[in-house]
Every structure is written in structure tokens, then in C-alpha cells.
Symmetry: C2
Subunit: 182 residues, 2 copies
Amino acid sequence: MAREKKIDMVILGLLSHEQLTGYDIKKRIDGAISFFWNGSFGNIYPTLKELETNGFITRKEATSEGREKISYKITPSGKKVLKNWIKDEQASNELKYETLLKLFFGGVEKRDVTYHNIEVFEDKIRDDLGLLRSYAKVLEKDLDNDDHLHYYLTISFGIESYEAYLKWCSKAKKMLGKGEKR
Amino acid sequence: MAREKKIDMVILGLLSHEQLTGYDIKKRIDGAISFFWNGSFGNIYPTLKELETNGFITRKEATSEGREKISYKITPSGKKVLKNWIKDEQASNELKYETLLKLFFGGVEKRDVTYHNIEVFEDKIRDDLGLLRSYAKVLEKDLDNDDHLHYYLTISFGIESYEAYLKWCSKAKKMLGKGEKR
DNA sequence: ATCAGCATGTAAGGCGTTACATGATTCA
DNA sequence: TGAATCATGTAACGCCTTACATGCTGAT
């Protein structure tokens, strides 16, 4: 079975662009990445140690001022690991939407319950879509930069799906509204 | 923090329509539900016991023939639990696509690597989309049935998103193809 | 007779989240 | 001076997956 853990790749990916502390890494993940992956201090810090032990990253302690603050940078072998993972075409893609579960079993309740659940979902998606669009706007300016192009495509995936979600929401609400079982 | 476990609701949802064994439940989950939720014997059987202990389901042993086969049915209190969960508007929706992670960090590799990863993703989505469409076709025939309507809307969500994914795939491949960095 | 599928269950391991613990720094 | 944020880390817990163990049944 393929290793399931991916937070190490997220960390290597981030460190391939800049030197970061564990705290910084958490902040980066909480940005655009959080739309398709998550991380917590509880798995970032231990993974950082693990990656260091394996020689995939090295620490650059900001010793001078005495303040404990550990910046990490990626090593050549770490970069190799990152590239090999990207080149490996197998990838697990999973969507776990509790909203869809509730929708699927919604027949046991009145239609307005489902209707309301869709509205709540819709609001959240609309907000997130706005955020994604603002990210895209910044990236659009410099698509010749290969990194930016990749970021843009990722964000763009989110935008296209969220737009499809919203389209579906209208359609679903219409179909639920037509019936009289409320 | 909200309880994260949802397999119990999946089971209650399935049992709200028909009497099933643990094995049956697994098969049902591996059908259309698998597009947005999963389950394994390792979590189904223990949960079944737990639900029984709590009085949310009861077993109807097929005692007669001596063959060990346990069918469960939902109790009124189980149905109440199911309905309350559906009515609770808070729902966790998470998407974890390793393909997007690889895409996001794809700038460290040549463009054709990303291009190929998108093609692999595209093929999988196309196959799954065919499956979803075949489910939808069956359900379309009887949308007056409230359960069918809910199933249809769920499947329809999958269809709309997968179509958006495919649209994105073409666009992304086009954008990657244009550049010369290969 | 043999093999695929039916059927139930347990144990180990992996991974992630939350909560907790601790303390420095910056800004109002 | 007090609050927010920076910063690192650990421990407990929850949940799920995989692999294993076991045996029956139906079809060829």
C-alpha cells in the first residue's frame, strides 16, 4: 500500500521555494493550500524532525538573538524526494462532503430541510469563491513565471468547481421547490 | 468539537430504507455513495454493535437455517437520531486531492510532468463520469419519488463537478502546452 | 471438487486533530 | 500592562484502513 502521509511533501514543496519555520509553514498551509489540503502543528513539527533526521531538510537556527526560532531549508536529497513524488502518477483524490451525505439521505425529512442545507452550503461556497478569485487575480499578472502558472492552475481548478457547485445549487433548489411535499 | 465519525449516520441512513446485513451495507457504500464517502468492514461491524447497544438499530437474526447472517433494522429512536443529524446545518466538507498538491508544487519539475499528471486525472474522471451518468439515467425516470429525487440530486452534483473538472483539464493542458519550458 | 463470492469479525498500525503547556515579542 | 500574535512542542484521543482469521454457499 502506498504511504498515505503527504504532509511531508507539502513541507518539502513549501521549502523548495523559501526558508521557513514550522510556524510559517502552518500559515502557508492555511492560505490557498487549505482548499485542498490541511495541516496542524501536531503533525507539522514531528514531520519536520523526521525530515531532518532523514536528511531531507536542514535547520538554520537564528542563534544570534537567543530567541528560539528554527528556519528550515530543503537539501538536494529532499528536492529529489519531492520531484519523485510529483513524477509518480498515482495520486489519491478524495472528496468527503457531509452535505452530500445529508442530501443523499434527505428523503427521510421534509424538503425544506434539504433546501436549507443547500442554502448554507451555497453561502459558504460563494464566500470561498470570492477568496479564490482574489488569489487568481494576483497570479494572473505573471503567468510566464512557471511557479505562478502552477499556482494559478490550482486555484483555477477551485474556481471552476465552485462555479459548478453554485450552478448545481440553483438547479437543485429549483427542483426541490417545485414539489409540494414540504 | 463536533463528533467526526459519520459512518454511523451512513448506516442509519441505509437502514432507514431497508433491512441490511453488515456485508450488504458495505456493498451499498461501495456503490454511488463511494463518490463522497467510504466505509470498511473494520469500521462498519464495530459501529453496528455500537448502534445496537444504543438502541438505534435491532438485529433480526435469520435463525432458522443456522447460517450466521445478521440483518439489522432501524428503530424509532435511531430514525430520530438520523433526522436530527440531517437537520443540523453544520457539516464538514473536505476535498483532499493529491493531484492538486502535485500541481501546486509542479513548478519544480518540467511542464510535461504536470501535463501527464493532468491526463491521468482526466482519464479517471471521464470513467467515473460515465458511471455517474448511468446512475442518473436510472433515477431520472422517477423523480416524483422523494428518495429518488434526493439520490438524483446527489449524483447530479457529482456530474456537474466532474464536467467542470474536464473543462478545466482541457484549459490547463492548453496553458501548459503553450509555454516552451518542457 | 473447486473457486468466487457471501458473511462476520478482530488486531495492529497509521495518521491527524485537539487540547494543553510554555514562553517571547510587539503594539496599543 | 495587557492582549494578540509569534513560536515550538507533546500527549491523548479518535477514527479509519489493512491485513488477518474463519467458515459457509452456490455455481461450474
